[in-house]
């Protein structure tokens, strides 16, 4: 009570002073003062318990420490992550709503003009990226496929599993298949990437594109083998496995193949960013960016993420904005290819 009174008194004095001073500029509130004791909504566009949720919950305590605000995690699942992304994009531009988004999927949905994508990825205010999802092509060790070359030379169609039409497992498979021109058939319609992995283990399909994180377990247990991946150079996860870029050189039109792969790689580089809506005052964004950067490096976050086997590939807000721009501004020809892939027209 007394504190409130004192605060009120201080505020009144400040107002009186500034009024009295007349010509002097009013005392601007710094961003740190603004966030102190406020509630920040952190939107997670998926149900509790998934990877996105876990990153958010791991980050929240460090973010609270850095901002002085209370961080409340709000799960808002729906439309494959679009509901949450819309919510962040269209929330009041006061800097009190932030959230993590499925960057790559949001970019592809936006490009293809999927209904319900009421956001523009390049217009978000990015605080930075938590992790990029390196894409890998995993095959079953029982499939007899040893290398990506085996797969490219196969006379019989290689069956690749995927989730829904337009999902990343599907888009990866058809786009890369289009570039390489190999004999393959994409079996899509699995309910989740878990179901695709089960089909891979059973031998119903021979391979699947997916994130490194989801293939890691199967590789360790000897069930899966990664034959190629999306990182152009220096992947710490897959140092001895040739990148798909190396195979682009052997295609009929290497320059064009490389161009498509660059665009595709940019897409996976968007990864999982943390974003605020457009229009938030610049000083608040800078404050949040600094807080996010410190939170990502705080030992308590790094240790916990390591313990939970969650990788971290931080880049700052500015670099993230550049990535988002690169991923959304495609040449018409490449854009058409991706849109066709997302819509299942290839």
């Amino acid at each position: 009570m007394r504190r409130i009174f004192l605060k009120g008194l201080a505020a009144t004095t400040a107002v009186a002073l500034s009024l009295g001073a007349g010509a002097m500029p009013s005392v601007a509130e710094t961003a740190a003062e603004f966030y102190k004791g406020k509630k920040v909504k952190f939107i997670v566009p998926y149900k509790p318990g998934g990877g996105y949720d876990e990153y958010a919950r791991l980050l929240a305590p460090s973010l609270e420490k850095q901002t002085g605000a209370r961080v409340e995690i709000v799960n808002m699942p729906g439309s494959g992550g679009m509901k949450g992304a819309n919510e962040i994009f269209n929330s009041p531009a006061d800097g009190l709503t932030i959230g993590i988004i499925n960057g790559s999927a949001m970019v592809t949905n936006e490009l293809a003009g999927i209904k319900g994508a009421d956001y523009r990825v390049a217009d978000y205010n990015f605080l930075g990226r938590v992790v990029a999802d390196q894409r890998v092509l995993a095959v079953s060790t029982k499939s007899g496929i040893e290398t990506y070359d085996d797969m490219l030379k196969s006379d019989k169609p290689i069956l690749l599993g995927a989730t829904g039409l337009g999902g990343s497992t599907y888009v990866d498979a058809v786009v890369i298949g289009q570039i390489m021109g190999n004999n393959q058939k994409v079996i899509h319609g699995f309910n989740s990437s878990s179901d695709v992995r089960q089909a891979l283990l059973r031998g119903d399909i021979q391979g699947m594109w997916g994130s490194y994180g989801s293939a890691r377990k199967g590789v360790q247990s000897g069930d899966f083998r990664i034959v190629t991946h999306s990182a152009k150079e220096g992947s710490k996860n897959t140092p001895d496995i040739p990148s798909v870029f190396e195979f682009a050189a052997k295609t009929a039109d290497p320059a064009k193949s490389e161009e498509i792969l660059e665009a595709w790689d940019a897409l996976s580089a968007v990864g999982r960013p943390v974003a605020a809506p457009p229009g938030v005052p610049e000083d608040r964004i800078e404050f949040l960016q600094a807080a996010f950067s410190s939170a990502m490096e705080a030992p308590e976050f790094v240790d916990k993420a390591k313990k939970a086997k969650r990788e971290v590939e931080y880049i700052d807000g500015k670099a993230m904005a550049a990535l988002a721009k690169k991923a959304t501004q495609l040449t018409p020809e490449i854009k058409d290819l991706f849109v066709a892939a997302i819509r299942g027209e290839i």
Binding site: K47, P48, G49, G50, G51, D53, E54, R57, V74, N75, M76, P77, G78, S79, K83, K115, G116, L159, T163, G164, L165, G166, G167, I187, H188, G189, F190, N191, S194, D195, R197, Q198, A199, L201, R202, D204, I205, K217, G218, Q220, S221, G222, D223, K304, K307, A308, K309, R310, R343, G344
Partner: protein, 501 residues
Amino acid sequence: MTIIEGMTSGFFQAISLGVLPYLMTGAVFGLVIGVIPGLSGHFAMAMAVTFLYSMEPGAGIAFMLGAHSTVAQGGGLTAILFSTPGTGQNAATLLDGPPMRDRGEAGKAVGAAMAACFLGATFGALALALLIPVLRDVVLFFGPPEIFVLAFLALTFVAVLGKEDMTRSLIAALGGLMLALIGVDNVTNTERFTMGSDNLADGLSLVPVILGLFAVAEMFELGIRGGALAKNMPDALSGRETQKQIFQGIGTAFRHWWLVMRCSAIGTVMGLIPGLGSAPAAFVAYGHAKQTSKSKETFGKGNVEGVIGSEAANDAVEGGALASTIAFGIPGSSSMAILLSGLFILGLETGPQMLNDHVDIVFIMIFTIIIGNLIGTIVGMFLVNPLSRATSIRASFMVPVLLVIIVTGAYASDRSLFDIGIALFFGVVGYLMKVLNYSRAALLIGFVLGFAVEKNLYLALLIDGPLFFLEPIPLGLSLVTLGFLLINVVGYVRDRRRSRV
């Protein structure tokens, strides 16, 4: 580590002082979450995960899985006492639980449900233990063709459930199948029956539909009828009488041990199949209990066998559902996905590594399920008395209170206001179905299985071609399905002839 060593070590770890208190806390937490309508095992696990960072592996597993394993038990309590499914998988308990309550046998129904849960969970956990050496093969048994045929087999149980009025039941089941079509189809990316609404793009969620069909509908009926929730019971049962009934109920469940075993087996197998979930398991077990019962005609009117069958299957699902998670680190449901990330946090790796080197961890899980359900049964018994008093409170007070809880539950799972609308809409649908004598169970079975049937049919056609059902395993399962259907049709026709004469 041999299996025997792992079992001994797992058991002693589970009852050690470093683990047991967490197990008890988890079990009670899960029970309470289960009692609250709309909050499910998924929710209990997600809450539990946040506490794991500072825990030892054994304690963490016991806490998390303990919370998950008692949820269905708590949900059964709510189903019987308040005609409101505490979780989705308790929907089948609503068919015979509340009618028993109305007869003044609430205690007996709850006792039987609790004991059946415990026995079912134990069965599922032991089945998992026995399957450890062949776990990987068992999990890989189920591919799209097999799942399609099995889901279809489960669908034919509508014929058993709705025997009394086949036409109406088939209409209801077809209605359920149609409801399953709503949303963006992920095979063709086309919107189906969304009427242009983004809210329907993901299809209807199970929780608000179940809450609407059963709980909200019940509230409408109660509001219109007036009186107390327990129909013919103006006064609450005395504490002593309830206690006596609970023990009677427990005795009844044990006396029906053969039924418990069969329904638990159904639950375990359905748990093994990825993507089917536990709600259909309970209905299939209910159908089986009805089909094999000597007094089929009293099902739906308060037959304790109906309660025992569905509750046993409910908790037996757990053991089966764990199999693919442990064997391959592939989660068969959203709860198992949370369990998997919890295990990562605790520093544990599933898959062959766990089966070979850390089989004691698997046994901690197994004993957690068994002990957790035992604790749930004991604590649940103490909850019955205060809760059952509420059933004789007059409707004008109970209806608003329960409606608020139900609506909150519908909102809570996805934080979606639209889901409240869905719950209320299906409340009206459920009420009309009840009044016009259409089977809500049949509708729900169609709804929960429609998705699995359609999706797996598509995948089976893509992978094995149009004649996929001629492969040996699907062929065997198809013949079983056809045989089952034939028996039912013949029985149905014979009954009708007899009733005409």
